[in-house]
């Protein structure tokens, strides 16, 4: 039996998830022996962009028409497709400013000198084609990637827990960023798997792994407000990764309330 054929691809994004694969320095050579990496622009100069793939990894958002066509072509040639990183799974940072019209961005950034751009609203790759697996993280965790790869190569299905970062944070006995430091920490809204990396280094969770299933946004906001943190500050921290759409609606509601009160805070 020949080695499974693998492709690794990046749409619009920072390529940080692909870099994390390259960072698996101790494991990389063994991986290269077990699979045949036929298409990986970041790491190879000669790539085969037609061969059908057993496994394909895709990172990034769809932000151009070209991204979308590329994503569809990858899906068409792959048996197992894996979304790699928060951009591909949730939209991540590129999707943060979707409320600004593309035309405005084009004008402000390129001053009209960019006819080649086929930009469109940034959306996660998972919005467009079906994926077999989704591995969030900004960037992905190496150990999760290796677990996923090992499981796929054995025909298994790895379990990634649907629990919040607090689960890992408590077991590391960190001082709670909310209780002790009165900060906006997105840990309770965010999917675990990172080992509570940020709180363990003394910074609140930014929510980069995307939301846990059914986060209690209302109670989180009340919790921050009860500690004297302003709505604007809360929104700034939460809208990055945790609750982009929801926060936008929340801000609109808040502004409507302020207008109704006839004042501004």
């Amino acid at each position: 039996m020949s080695a499974p054929k693998v492709g690794i691809f990046g749409l619009t994004g920072c390529a940080g998830d692909q870099l994390q694969i390259l960072n698996c320095e101790d494991e990389l050579l063994r991986i290269a022996e077990r699979v045949e990496i036929v298409d990986w622009v970041m790491a190879r100069s000669q790539n085969d962009s037609n061969t059908p793939l057993d496994v394909a990894f895709v990172e990034g958002v769809v932000a151009t028409e070209r991204d979308l066509a590329y994503l569809k072509s990858i899906r068409a040639r792959s048996r197992t497709l894996v979304a790699l990183g928060t951009c591909a799974v949730w939209g991540g940072l590129p999707a943060m400013r979707n409320e600004l019209p593309r035309e405005v961005l084009r004008r402000e950034v390129y001053a009209g000198g960019a006819e080649f751009l086929d930009t469109r609203e940034a959306r996660p790759a998972t919005d467009f084609v079906p994926f077999e697996f989704r591995l969030p993280g900004c960037p992905i965790e190496r150990h999760e990637f290796l677990r996923l790869l090992n499981a796929i190569l054995c025909g298994g299905k790895p379990e990634f827990l649907n629990v919040p970062v607090c689960w890992e944070c408590k077991t590391r006995e960190n001082l709670c960023r909310v209780v002790h430091y009165k900060e906006v920490c997105c840990g309770a809204m965010t999917r675990a798997g990172c080992g509570a990396r940020c709180p363990s280094h003394g910074v609140p969770c930014a929510g980069c792994r995307g939301p846990v299933e059914e986060p209690n946004y209302d109670a989180n906001i009340t919790m921050f407000q009860d500690r004297g943190i302003s709505w604007v500050e809360i929104a700034r921290k939460m809208e990055a990764f945790s609750a982009p759409v929801w926060m936008k609606l929340g801000l609109e509601r808040e502004h409507a309330r302020e207008r109704a009160r006839g004042g501004r805070s």
């Binding site: 090992n150 054995c154 077991t171 001082l175 309770a188 809204m189």
Partner: protein, 344 residues
């Protein structure tokens, strides 16, 4: 049970000697970035007995972490051969600084993991554990007195109760007796004065409690309050972050799954879980017995104060106050039950 006395300055000598018996664990203050003091403690292995804060009322994680680590590799298959996930033999552990509530929680863990079908992973750690208690004075989050767990006369090896310039030392096991004989650092039979002062201290301690939970008929009250609106309210307030379960000395739910960290290596893991997490009651076919937050919050309280009482004749809450201290949205277990009763 036997009682002894020990001069205060002799205790460090005894504890230092105990390091020959195994790894010594005690509450240690967590470092905070600014002034270094956090007022928050965790149970850690210590090498210098001066680091120990046995008087600290609660560590973030209770000492279940020594017996049921948050993440245990139960077994590992490597290149087709099976091996134990633990590094064996398990080293002897001495926990210095257990309070009465801790010892009661240990009894509950023993009940769950050693009766009927003993859990071998728990058992082999438990056999290596020596428990040395330390008399505490409650704060505004302690309510062990309401649950009958404020005092303890067995389930530990030694118990040090601080008196003026000396300790009353209670010996409650053969292992405890061995230790005071093996390290005769100045243990003497206790005197009537010691006993008098000890009882005075107990009285002062009893009077020091400010928090109380009327638990005597809670199972019956809860039985009637299953659809009380209070659970919906709590469901709206709770983040389901699981902090209360992680820090609870008697929450022992776990999840098990297999992982393949490397090629040709697979591990069966046992990790802490919580009934507050959405997937906890998810079963094959996609049905979730407690899909709503309110259902999950209610379940946790019912398990502690209703189901456990019906099965074992006592609640599985020991009144340590950890969930009160750690809940980020300020859910207060005593207030919850007052609310359920309609008292508040």
């Amino acid at each position: 049970m036997q009682t002894l006395r020990l001069e205060v300055q002799r205790l460090p000598v005894f504890l230092s000697a105990l390091r020959d018996e195994g790894d010594l664990f005690a509450p240690v203050e967590r470092l905070a970035p600014k002034d270094g003091r956090s007022g928050v403690y965790s149970l850690e292995r210590i090498f210098d007995v001066a680091q120990a804060h046995p008087e600290a009322l609660r560590t973030i994680l209770p000492f279940k972490k020594l017996l049921l680590p948050p993440r245990t590799v139960l077994t590992r298959a490597r290149d087709g051969a099976w091996e134990d996930g633990d590094e064996l033999p398990i080293r002897p552990m001495i926990f210095y600084g257990a309070h009465a509530c801790d010892v009661h929680s240990l009894k509950i863990l023993d009940l769950l993991f050693l009766s009927d079908f003993a859990d071998p992973y728990y058992q082999r750690r438990r056999e290596q554990l020596t428990v040395i208690g330390y008399g505490c004075i409650p704060d505004d989050k302690c309510f062990c007195q309401s649950l009958g767990t404020a005092n303890v006369d067995d389930g530990f090896d030694l118990f040090f109760t601080p008196l003026e310039g000396r300790f009353m030392v209670t010996v409650a096991s053969a292992r405890g007796d061995d230790l005071v004989r093996r390290y005769p650092v100045g243990f003497e039979p206790s005197t009537r004065d010691d006993t008098r002062e000890y009882l005075d201290r107990l009285k002062r301690r009893t009077e020091a409690f400010t928090l109380a939970l009327d638990a005597h008929d809670l199972p019956y009250v809860l039985e009637l309050k299953k659809d009380d609106p209070v659970w919906e309210e709590l469901g709206r307030k709770c983040l389901c972050c699981g902090s209360c379960s992680m820090v609870c000395p008697t929450c022992t739910c776990f999840n098990m799954w297999d992982e393949m960290p490397e090629e040709n290596c697979s591990e069966r893991l046992r990790c802490w879980d919580a009934c507050l997490y959405r997937d906890y009651a998810l079963v094959a076919g996609g049905h979730n017995f407690r899909a709503r937050r309110a259902d999950r919050v209610r379940n946790r309280y019912y398990h502690k104060q209703e189901a456990f009482v019906r099965e074992f004749g006592m609640p599985s809450c020991v009144g340590c106050g950890r969930c009160i201290e750690n809940c980020p949205t300020g859910i207060h277990v005593v207030e919850v039950f007052q609310h359920v009763r309609g008292d508040a």
